[in-house]
Symmetry: C5
């Protein structure tokens, strides 16, 4: 790995710029203990060992917190990856099993492409996007659009079953994929609505603040002027872990760390179209 | 993230106020070693290094414990998220598959909305709530209300199957969702009734108490008057981890950290109603 | 949380009393280096820093070990929770699906209630308990009683299928729950018979022993008389983690940390009886 | 384990040679603080304790990061292991269940052997390999070759079902394995396209760089000339963890740590051929 | 827990004897720095603090590594536990569902008992064992014996289905267990063939070696003669973690830490025989 590649991306993260700003503020604050130390009113005379221990325990807490936040993020990614899989398998099964009418297949194609778009808009609390225009989604008369789409897929499935265009086994083979749609939507809502336990989060943040507020007073005797850069460095480290965890916890927005939901919607649209195009050529 | 948002929530947690009270008590206690140190009867003269090491090991134990407790909490949340998914899929399948009678569908709608309410009351050992009034739940003649509701859903399913309104495949497609109801109820009961291993919990608490009791004696020589604020800080940190873990371990109550069961019941009611409303309009 | 509740349970654990005894023995041993230090033959003069580092690494090893042991315990609990779920779902399905004869249903009820009792006795290597009397289990002519019970359930299922009292789909719906019975029994046997890797366990214990044997010699110079209480404290902590892990590793016995298998058997009996009582009233 | 085996592999890793080069560069840089220290312009006089604490927290972060990267790698391996299982089970079921025509079976054999090769090429963004020549894959007219293959398998399955050569149950028994093909392909794409959260990765790297840049200035007073080898050692350790994690994160390439995809493709080809050869002999 | 039980097993592990030997070699090597220190050519004068920090980070790395290795081992154990479950459930279903001929059942009994033995031999690259004699496995004309056995089970299943001795639903009920056979075989092969990432493993070992080589030079000033026993102790600890991890990584051999595959094969044989004996008595 060339060294250049190692250094370049260091300057491109907006999140980390915020952290730097906050760390500099803490550094400004740390000038107070330094000034007091050099004034005739210096009063603290304990060793700096205490903050060493505290910073270690705090370090674990933050590393664990970051890890938990990352696991949520990865679970969200896995759910959307499962949506790609479910959409592909549904496409394959609708086109290759049973004897669906072309009209039904076209509608299923529309619905499968619309589902991830609708879910994305739902998770971002946005109005349904342009990609849904073909859907006549207003006719669905539904508040929870992804549920409305899943409902119409089951509606087509049930009708085809009753009309004998598919038999029970084919219905079940499609059902095992179709039920994943709402499971995935529900899983995403769970991650969206339930953040990490409130006390846990507040507690971690309190500890960081108390630690940073007391740190310069504790080490100023040993480090004198160097207290300021060292406080900034520690603040950057501690706040960085905390803020990155905070950002990663909400994976469905527009942040640079958030999932590329638009890209995933396109992947699904491409896969679905390919499966149905093939049918069109037969 | 604005700084304001970072500071504001620090003062709003009731759990952490309790912790602060206990930390102050420990601080009061730490005045004794300080007084002894400044009296002519000072007797301890070992270095404070010992407590540094002990506090590190204790720190891990507590961080692990908090993590375990959080995992339970998240499992409980996932189970209730699964209940949302199961209710939605059941709604879709009951309305779109087979030929259920309207009377049966209305009853299923009632039962699906009642199930999370009944489970919530069961987990909180409360009398069934107002939302269950429509259910005539007293006619169910059952002690374990969630089981009674699941039983009636299977009763409807079995009757429709015998009457030929659904065939075997449709019954199976509904069954795979319906069996999740009791699995979820059983999972919640497991979390409710089985806390973290008793010895493990008592041991962690003992270690915290012994550590806090001996801490001020160990560091008073090095830190003198500063022993008191440092003991309070450490006590707040250690007790905070312990108490937050304790609270998070029981996710079904009314604490601020507990799951928003009422909100989840409403979400389910909304989703179920939407699925069945659509049917009503056909 | 009241302070009283925090302190009370500290004195009630039998496991931890054993640990205390062992820690006191180590304390007795630590009198030797203290005596040597104050005699004219004092010979060790290295700093105590070495033991600090060693105790930290040992601390992780033990915390990890405790965590692994706890995960086993929780897996055992989850398996038994799954048994509750499987028993309930089997009860619902046997009573509500198909057209089983009353004679068959009564036998299934007996078998479902007997299965957890038989599994409990099997895991504890005990003679089958009183609760199994009704079963005429001796007629089962089987060594592995849980397997014998599962076999008879499948026997009833197969017979009803061949006689046309249930069709294939209903058989499958019951099968997906019934096969969990032996999966759970097998999972419990796995936990019972396979403990944590032998070398790993011996190695952890050796390290604790070597550490405790060398600790008082290493710190006696710095801590003098205080070596004795500090050694006891450390021994209590280290041995406590080790012994708690040891106990938690075997979750099926009669220890205070073991699973409440009797309570779980009763819960299952209650649930099964309720489901079958309801049928009786129809 | 003989000592020779312990030492030999130390010199054979290309990845670690790169790390060594980078560590030597850091060592070169560390000559500056040493030179300054021995010049009359020495200005820093804080203790080296600060870097000890920082390196510990950084150590966790890196160990966690390595662990996360390793879990991704193992998940990728598990997915490919699942592909081996799915291919074997599909072979067994296609040959032993139903009455497929020899023509269909030959085509399925080709497709099953081609699927892993196509997936491998897809994950490496390569042109389809020689092993696919027999497939006439250009006739598949598909961009996503693995999807095209899965589609043709379902096509054969659907046709055989409609022609009555297999019944619904056999179709389902094959379907439960066939749907794993696209699930595995989707899972691999997820690992390929989504790396660990960007902020998290940049942050870890920044911290390593800042730490290494400040380390020699912090310890030069205590260690003097020894600063240079110690900095090289620490740099090797820190950069090693970071670079190994970086490499392990991308498991589908040609690196020495990457999965042996070619070997897995051969294993699948062997297993599939064996299952179909057996049929040929009947 | 009696003290005797605590001490006894300490001397019985062959693996740990090897570790002890290697630790003594390191101790021999540490005599060099001690000799130099007491010679007039002593040249190193840095504090021992550096090695304290390094040993902590190394300690995590090794504890994590041990943990990962242990998880592999436990996964292997879980797979074999799943084989016990699958064998039992297959026995129950073959004997109780459908109308298999006695000839078929006897063959299935042979095959179910032979499968774990064949898998064990396959994982150990051994010739098929005596227990397989009855199988006439040479007639299977297969290289991958477990696959050959699974194939014959599916062969019997497919034939019985075509002959109408079982219907589709019963075939599916047996299929859900039978497909686990090859999944388990594939899972075991995955664990056997893919060890922990090569760079990761080499890197951990390099760090241990470099650390142990530099340790006595770093602490000889502070600990003088005591350097030798302390180096041995540390070497035993570090090498112990590394070597135990190494051993545990390969769970299918004949080491004392390896799985008791022979015992598991016997358990399966017993369970299968019991299920089929019962049938024989009818």
């Amino acid at each position: 790995m060339p060294l250049r590649e190692f250094v370049l991306p260091l300057v491109s993260s907006r999140t980390l710029c915020h952290v730097l700003g906050m760390a500099l503020l803490v550094g400004l604050y740390s000038c107070i203990p330094v000034a007091v130390e050099f004034s005739p009113y210096a009063f603290f005379d304990g060793p700096s060992e205490f903050h060493a221990v505290l910073s270690l325990i705090l370090g674990w807490l933050l590393v664990f917190r970051t890890n938990t936040a990352y696991n949520r993020w990865w679970e969200a990614r896995t759910l959307w990856g499962g949506l790609v899989n479910a959409s592909r398998n549904l496409s394959l099964k609708f086109t290759k099993l049973g004897n669906f009418e072309t009209r039904e297949l076209r509608r299923v194609q529309q619905l499968l492409i619309a589902f991830p778009v609708a879910l994305r808009c739902h998770l971002r609390s946005e109005k349904p996007a342009i990609g849904l225009r073909d859907l006549d989604y207003e006719e669905l008369e539904t508040i929870h659009l992804p549920q409305g789409i899943a409902q119409e897929i089951y509606s087509i499935l049930g009708a085809a079953k009753r009309a004998g265009r598919i038999d029970g086994e084919e219905m079940r083979a499609i059902d095992v994929e179709a039920l994943r749609l709402m499971d995935i939507a529900g899983g995403c809502e769970r991650i969206l609505k339930t953040r990490i336990v409130k006390s846990y989060r507040i507690f971690a943040r309190q500890c960081v603040l108390i630690f940073l507020a007391s740190l310069p007073w504790g080490i100023v005797q040993d480090f004198r002027f160097w207290t300021i850069p060292l406080t900034i460095l520690t603040a950057y480290f501690m706040l960085g872990l905390e803020v990155v965890a905070e950002h990663v916890e909400e994976p469905f927005g527009y942040d640079e760390d958030d999932l590329d939901l638009d890209g995933l919607c396109q992947t699904i649209a491409l896969s679905v179209n390919e499966a149905f195009l093939h049918l069109g050529q037969l």
